[in-house]
Amino acid sequence: MLTNDQLRETMIASAGEDESINLDDEFATRPFTELGFDSLALLETCANLKRSYGIEVPDELLWEFSTPEELVRWVNGTES
């Protein structure tokens, strides 16, 4: 199970302290690219999801998800 808040924390950690990202309440429905997440930052997010929650997202699937919501839905659908 992955919640939006857990993904948000992971995304903030992935962006790093010296980067500025603004993940507001609507972040889950906004495209990753609009949030400043390119393929490299998404790979970093997935590496951190694995570290923190043991969740594995195959690299080749990453670009299938346009928004955080879609990624969360995939994780929860796969695990349930």
Binding site: S20, T33, L40, L43
Partner: protein
């Protein structure tokens, strides 16, 4: 900053961002070919000047194969697509107050800024291609870490350097094939995220320096007719990490050294944003520079904004046209609620 922005009727200044190697993808911007008059004319102009009939066919192929990412194809196509998109946006009534390109995107930016005629820029690039296609096999690796951390990890690995610093946590490691493999292995083992950039030459590494000397001087100096001018539109340079001055712009050697020189895109972007609120517009395939910009404090806080002319990646047919139309629509709704730049 020395120069001042031209502020038109209270609107925030527009800064074009033009991406380089790695941003290319099959059929990039191709939906606009045939549907946008100015885009189509500019691409056709490029194919005519380059005298390369195969290039268009490769560009329009859905699955062009790995050679698509080679300098011979990716670089002339990126220059042409970046510039054709910039012209399309300008033709729609949005003139840039400043331009910033990444790598080959800087040459496209220079065309927009009036440093080169399009034909001269293509000639310059064609000569780069003829020269550097003989470079040792290599490429680039994008690394999600700071330059300090990456530099430390590269110790003892031959033929690789930090070739670009794109942001606080995005660095490109550039160099030879075997060195990149070793660097990748070490970084991954240390838990540092990295991803290969679609490239087949060791751009922005000293390996590119070895090449020109190996070529014979049989043909006349291809650069003899190229006369770069001072930019008419304010321009920022990734190689300088800040504004491009007339002295650098008019020095042909500055342009010739670019394929082997490091890119400080992050610094150049910071310099752009330090001038005050602006609207960044990415005129190139994908959204690689937009995502970098969206992680800067100025854009994340909403002081400056960032729009992209094209979708982040290859989507359904027609997506290029839809994205361009949506962006132009957003640009036309720019109002005075954007804070005015205090230069």
């Amino acid at each position: 900053m020395g120069q001042r922005y031209r502020i038109v009727s209270g609107e925030s200044p527009v800064v074009f961002l033009l991406p380089g190697q790695g941003a290319q993808h099959p059929r990039m911007a191709a939906d606009l070919y045939g549907s946008s008059e100015i885009f189509t004319a500019t691409m056709d102009e490029a194919f005519t000047i380059l005298d390369d009939t195969v290039l268009r066919e490769i560009w329009l192929r859905a699955d062009p194969g790995p050679m698509f990412h080679d300098i011979t194809h990716a670089q002339p196509l990126l220059l042409s697509v970046d510039y054709a998109l910039a012209r399309t946006v300008i033709a729609a009534g949005v003139r840039p107050d400043a331009v910033l390109g990444h790598s080959v995107g800087e040459i496209a930016a220079a065309v927009v800024a009036g440093v080169f005629d399009f034909a001269d820029a293509l000639l310059l690039l064609a000569t780069f291609v003829r020269t550097y296609r003989h470079a040792p096999a290599g490429g680039m690796l994008a690394v999600a870490s700071s330059p300090e951390v990456v530099d430390e990890r590269l110790t003892g690995i031959p033929d690789v350097v930090i070739g670009a610093i794109n942001g606080p946590r995005q660095v490109l490691v550039c160099g030879g094939r075997s060195g990149l493999t070793a660097a990748r292995r070490r970084l991954l083992a240390d838990g540092v995220t990295c991803a290969e950039v679609a490239a087949r030459q060791p751009f922005h590494s000293p390996l590119m320096n070895d090449v020109p000397a190996q070529l014979d001087g049989a043909s006349p100096d291809p650069y003899s007719t190229i006369r770069p001018r001072a930019p008419r539109t304010r321009m920022y340079s990734g190689y300088l990490g800040g504004p491009l001055d007339a002295a650098h712009a008019t020095d042909l050697q500055f342009w010739l050294s670019q394929p082997s020189s490091p890119v400080y895109f992050g610094s150049a972007l910071r310099a752009v944003l330090a001038g005050g609120p602006c609207t960044l517009v990415e005129t190139g395939p994908g959204q690689s520079l937009s995502t970098l910009a969206r992680r800067t404090p100025a854009v994340a806080r909403g002081e400056s904004r960032c729009l992209a002319a094209l979708p982040p990646r290859r989507l359904a047919p027609g997506a290029d046209t839809t994205a361009m139309a949506a962006m132009l629509d957003q640009l036309s709704h720019l109002t005075t609620d954007v804070p005015t730049r205090k230069d």
